[in-house]
Amino acid sequence: MRKLTPIPYPLLPLLLAALTIAASFFAVAVVYAQTRLPTDDEVNAIAKQLYCPVCPNTPLDVCETQACKDWRAQIRDQLAAGWSEERIIDYFVTQYGERVLAEPGRKGFTALVWVLPVIAVLLGLAVVWQVLRSWRSRQDLQVETSISTPQISPEILKRIEQELQEMD
């Protein structure tokens, strides 16, 4: 839940006074303001997080079927009745199952969808590290064996190295 922005102090008494007056004279208007119809944008903000329960892979905010229109109208009614975003989403999950969530949950079996890629990346890093190290150690071995072939002098080796560098 977003916190309410604090109202600047000097305005507070004024506002309270205005509210009291408004409440006493236009009580009906105040009630109307509280139950004003939620805007399309507010409805879409919630519908965006849900998937259409009947059509494959369509987010609820863009789905064009009549059923989806009705569901969006339902969200509007729920918002008007003062439901929170969480409560509306929970309502849809209990009503139509987990498949309405665009983002899969993190509990139970579904947690696997999140966990496995992370494990895979870690495992991959470990394997790559091992492979790189084994490549390195084989090189150490080669250095040892190259000692037994003394035909190439260090200067020539150095020149070869240098020319190889320049080739790139």
Partner: protein
Amino acid sequence: MIADIGLISLSIAFLFSVYATLASFYGGWRDRAEWTESARNASILVFPLLSISVLAVIYSLYVMDFSLAYVADVSSRAMSPFLRLTALWGGQQGSVLFWAWIMAGFMMIVLLRKWDRDRDLMPYVIGVAMLTTAFFIGVTVFITNPFGRLWHFPGANELTTAVFQPAGAMPYVPQDGQGLNPLLRHFGMIGHPPTTYLGFTGFVIPYAFAMAALITGKSREDGWIRTTRRWTLVAWIFLTIGLILGGRWAYDVLGWGGYWGWDPVENAMFLPWLTGTAFLHSVMMTEKRGMLKKWNMILIILTYALTVFGTFITRTGVISSVHAFAKSALGPAFLIFIGLTFLGSLSLLFSRWDTLKSEHQLESFFSREAVFVLQNLLFLAITFAVFWGTVFPLISELVTGTKITVGPPYFEKVTGPLFFVLVLLMGVAPLFAWRKQAARNLGRAMLVPFLASLGITAAWGYTHRMHPGSIFGLWLVSFVLLAIATEFWKGLRARMSGRSENPLTALAKLIGRNHRRYGGYVIHLGVVMMVLGVIGDAYFKQETQASLAPGETLRLGVYTLRYDGLRDYPGSDGREVVEASTALFKDGEFIRQLKPRRDFFVVQEQPVTVPAVYSTPGADVYVLLVGWEEGQHDLTTFKMYLNPLINWVWTGGLAMILGTLIAAWPASRKHVEASYVIKPGRLQPQPGIGD
């Protein structure tokens, strides 16, 4: 009559492809050149035979021969001739045939061009490629035949589809066809599916060569990589174009203001692209340094398996429900084929594991080699995450019985950080030298791009404090862009001062001398442009929706939309069009009229929302007609999106195509590429086929 010729031709093509597979394997195994020669001739004939079948389907679609179930399914009298022709790949039967046809075409080109160059590999290249072709033709003949006809049993409620007349059934010819899925009735239909299929099938060629190298034991040398290098690039660019056109199509047709929704069908195409891109890079390591040979094999095997998997996903509908899988024999056939070829290739790879030893060792963790390995790991990690997210709903349904959705938030959260590192590597990798890199030199090379990118980011961050995520994104884009630009500048400066050339000649010659390298950089620049577009989409996209009476306005950012009126009229292709006229204003100044539409396809009872887009280099204004009050046309609902930077996605795509053309341009013989690999294999007697 025409359809019968197509059917006969298709059946002969199937027999020929099976024969070619068997004969070439036998010829290779027994070292009998005449069998291989015969297999080659049979393979070359498959393409003309399939062409006859394809032409027969096209002809039937054109004349609307509704006695064919496929024609009745995907075409209708209301459709334009153009759309009727594209219906060839608009449904399952036609597209599987189309796949096989392109595959056979590629194979014919290989056999006509490369026949003499790789004599040892050829028997198995033919064998492996024709096995794939035979599978697809077999599926077309036995499971999803485009020449199947409609039959009616007396007293039955439903029609039966069969190639031959079932006993007791009467032929049935409907008056009109169902017609193509309305979403497919778009000009993009001419581009996206064929390019995708060209990309999919194109990867079969390097795969066939890789398998042939393993079977013959020639995997010790890397001849297959050199032979197939351009094939790989061609396949890759077609797949890339296919992806971009698919995104553009989604943007123009699907009416949700975006171009990429992480839909299973999109992912199925993206997966082989990811492994194919990794393969393109790891092959460079083999060419330059003789390393990562096993890795290449694994990547090309994965890419092949994923291209077939992509066709499987898009054509069997398995992802939308497990139940769609069991409806036809197509799903099981594909699954068995993928499983067998995958396991077969892997066991082949392990049996030749020793021939794929690295010819050089890693000299430093601080080298381009190490960066390449890390980059390959990232590609594979992204592939896994996307694959896992795509198939998980199925696994969940099978294991727990609950259907779940894995939507964009999952893919963005899991692959986002991996993509970030990958793009960063793309910028720094060229600064790393092969073998080993002195940290000090690297620091010096990166200093200017790094400081400059920090400066840009600071200035940007100051004006866009609202979106902290975008600041990281912009730093990434500016750093990578400057790093690549520095590479160009270094080469240019050397030529301009060394040979006193003017900048333009210097640039042309620089690219001409090492077109693979600079083509690659241009592709990378294209990727950076796309990332910029993605940042715009991820952080700055705005939307609003409201119901307006005529004369009322809707405001979004600096733009205002005024609703003027609604009219309906009958459109082409059997649709009823409802069109709103609106006027778009920027800062109060009139810009232009926008006419968002809702097309209702009467036969399919399906609406299609056609957006009206005002496109500028900075941002697109994308307006959708969402709905209206029935009967009284006075309250109409519009949805308006502001998509900043989105055009960079398409521009980036064009840059990638340009870069690939530069990279694939045939090299003049003078500039033979430098390679540090000394081939020990060439000095030793060649291992025979049998050992």
